[in-house]
């Protein structure tokens, strides 16, 4: 195994773009024609360093999941580079196919949001976790069973449940099964797409702590997608904020919360509801409604909702510009605006006495 050095770039994404064509039935449904193009991701660039967690936040339709699926090559990118560090060489994920792509798959794995639909209901748990091992010819049957047992122990599942089916597990346990499956082939990068959003609050903490422990023990690198800023704050080192298919701000989490530089980040921070009645009124509604869905045209994606919009924003899309070490934002007025940070809380809610 190649020497693993914490902090070296593991995944580099440059100008990643995905356009989905929209079709309409044509000639009485015999054919179809393209009527429009949806820009799901446009010019997405970021680097994930080995051992870190990059959080990816934004509202539904902003392109978070599309970005994840492009990295996993579920979708073919329209444009852009994805380069993954494998040993001493950089593999161009966007260009390889066939055997080379298959050989890369074990290194990048995914944990899904819905622990119900992401597990085959007709497969016992042991088989679900063993499937990636079998597909990639991990070893003999005995070795595979041993590995499955190790993995179940690793994620806190009772090995006796090997032959049970997913329906007999709770949401939190199912998510553990999904995690065990993702870790089966010793991946380096794990893409976590809303891994706790479907779980109850009391179970979320268990899964989040498990993911943190596994990262430390196995030296994992995470791309962690969530719409919940508090969750991202707990697990991520740096956070990328997406809106309309673009990354509008990228910063270490502390800086993002304390000194946001993009108006959308401000809106997002203002809409956080915290379990503390004394902060009531701290949350503010965004002035307008929007879907976060990308639209074409030369304007800034956020121009139609932005409270600080100027004429320039409607005719020219801003570039992602650096505003400090590791901190970048995509706004024309980046130097003039002084945006409101996340309100500080007096003390942690729930800590009685």
């Amino acid at each position: 195994m190649a020497a693993r050095e914490d902090g070296e770039p593991l995944l580099e994404v440059r100008d990643l773009t995905k356009h989905f064509p929209l079709y309409q039935p044509w000639l009485l449904g015999l054919g179809r024609r393209q009527i429009e193009t949806v820009t799901a991701a446009e010019g997405v660039s970021f680097t994930i360093h080995r051992g870190e967690t990059l959080g990816l936040v934004g509202e539904s339709g902003c392109g978070k999941t599309t970005t994840a699926r492009l990295i996993l090559r579920v979708f073919e990118p329209t444009r852009g580079e994805i380069s993954f560090r494998l040993g001493d060489t950089a593999v161009r994920v966007d260009q390889i196919r066939g055997k080379a792509l298959r050989a890369l798959r074990p290194h990048i794995q995914m944990i899904f949001q819905d622990p119900f639909s992401s597990l085959n209901p007709r497969m016992p748990v042991g088989e679900i976790i063993a499937e990636p091992l079998r597909l990639h010819r991990y070893g003999t049957e005995k070795e595979i069973i041993e590995r499955v047992k190790t993995l179940m122990g690793l994620v806190g599942l009772n090995v006796q449940y090997l032959r049970r089916y997913p329906h007999s597990f709770s949401g939190g346990q199912r998510q553990r099964i999904g995690i065990a499956r993702a870790l089966a082939l010793n991946p380096e990068l794990v893409v976590c797409d809303e891994p706790v959003s479907a779980l109850d609050v009391s179970v979320q903490a268990q899964v989040l702590n498990l993911l943190k422990d596994l990262q430390r023990e196995l030296g994992l690198t995470y791309l962690f997608i969530s719409h919940n800023l508090a969750v991202v704050d707990y697990v991520a080192d740096r956070i990328a904020v997406m809106y309309g298919g673009r990354i509008v701000e990228l910063a270490p989490k502390q800086q993002l919360f304390e000194r946001p530089r993009h108006p959308y980040t401000e809106v997002l921070l203002a809409s956080v509801l915290r379990p503390d009645p004394r902060l009531r009124g701290g949350a503010q509604s965004a002035s307008t409604d929007g879907s976060g869905l990308a639209s074409g045209g030369p304007a800034c994606v956020f121009a139609s909702r932005c409270p600080y919009v100027i004429d320039r924003c409607r005719v020219e899309a801003p570039a992602l510009q650096s505003v400090g070490p590791e901190h970048a934002a995509r706004c024309h007025r980046i130097d003039e605006l002084s945006l409101t940070p996340l309100p500080r809380r007096a003390r942690v809610a729930g800590s009685s006495g």
């Binding site: 509202e59 539904s60 709770s170 949401g171 939190g172 346990q173 109850d200 609050v201 009391s202 179970v203 979320q204 903490a205 268990q206 989040l208 702590n209 943190k212 719409h227 919940n228 800023l229 508090a230 969750v231 704050d233 707990y234 919360f257 809106v267 997002l268 203002a270 809409s271 956080v272 509801l273 915290r274 379990p275 503390d276 009645p277 004394r278 902060l279 009531r280 949350a283 503010q284 509604s285 965004a286 409604d289 929007g290 879907s291 976060g292 996340l342 500080r344 809380r345 942690v348 809610a349 729930g350 800590s351 009685s352």
Partner: protein
Amino acid sequence: MVVMSGMGEPLLRVEDLRTYIYLDEGLVRAVNGVSFTLDRGQTMAIVGESGSGKSMVAQSILRILPERARIESGRILFSANCGSPRDLAALPPNGKVMRSIRGGAIGMIFQEPMTAFSPVHTVGDQIGEVARLHRGASRAEARAAAIEALRSVGFPDPARKVDTYPFELSGGLRQRAMIAMALVCRPALLIADEPTSALDATVQTQILDLLLRLQREYGMALLIITHDPGVVAYVADLVTVMYFGKVMETGPAASLFEDPQHPYLQALLQATPRFGLGPGERLQTIPGAVPGPFVSVRGCPFLSRCPEGEPALCGSDMPAMRPLGPDHRVACYRRGSVAETAVAAAGAEKL
């Protein structure tokens, strides 16, 4: 304005409500002895995790329970027009009275506005239908009422949007349309079951602000069912915490968040992902999981996960609600000594 308790009958008084579901696999005691009161103009949040029975409480009040569920016992006393209270639990669910209350004096909004609306009728028709059914409005009056209702919930261009179909609207607008529909008859009580769970964060605060504004304007009581402590803290005056069909703690939101008493609530708030954790600080987890739905628990249902529980003390009977303050009560043997209980009860009586 919150009406002082003690001034006559509260708007809603739920007494020892039990709602069971009869499934082939067994009996689910979804709501197992829930009591609370709600005054006019107040906001109460019922908070709980999935399977806690919180939605079944809402569905019991509205009498829209699933086919296999039944109110076993208990009373749901509702006094809409300052008249004598009516026991909703004793009414036929599809009888004339219940149908006039549902959508009339009690409005309701649901989590998923896409499935709650009919996809083949315009928003305006569906909102107007409420006015036609409950107020006998004519077609023209119903349309006017729908436009007015859409305007009150901040719909842009209501006169035109009244003719749109639900699928043409964004999630936030759909939820606004649902609120408009619930408010056509100016209900005294609005029940909202996870009203913002399907929405993005920025839209969520808009909808909650809207609910709070309309509540003030119309003076209605609001019963919000949610799993999100953040939503509770944002809107609620009073909070009722449910777990496995039972009330664990109830009281003013400020007291419950600042000084939670029940071990379950304490653990839940400690486990909630939140900002401001120090570096290396970990979320406390609650070990184990909620008992399965068919399990019959004799004592406190949180016992198996409780850091302070003792099988000898908590395992045989569910603890009764013990008063900790005028409105603050907790169901835990480890909270509120007998002496304290007596003092608090005496204090409560004086008020």
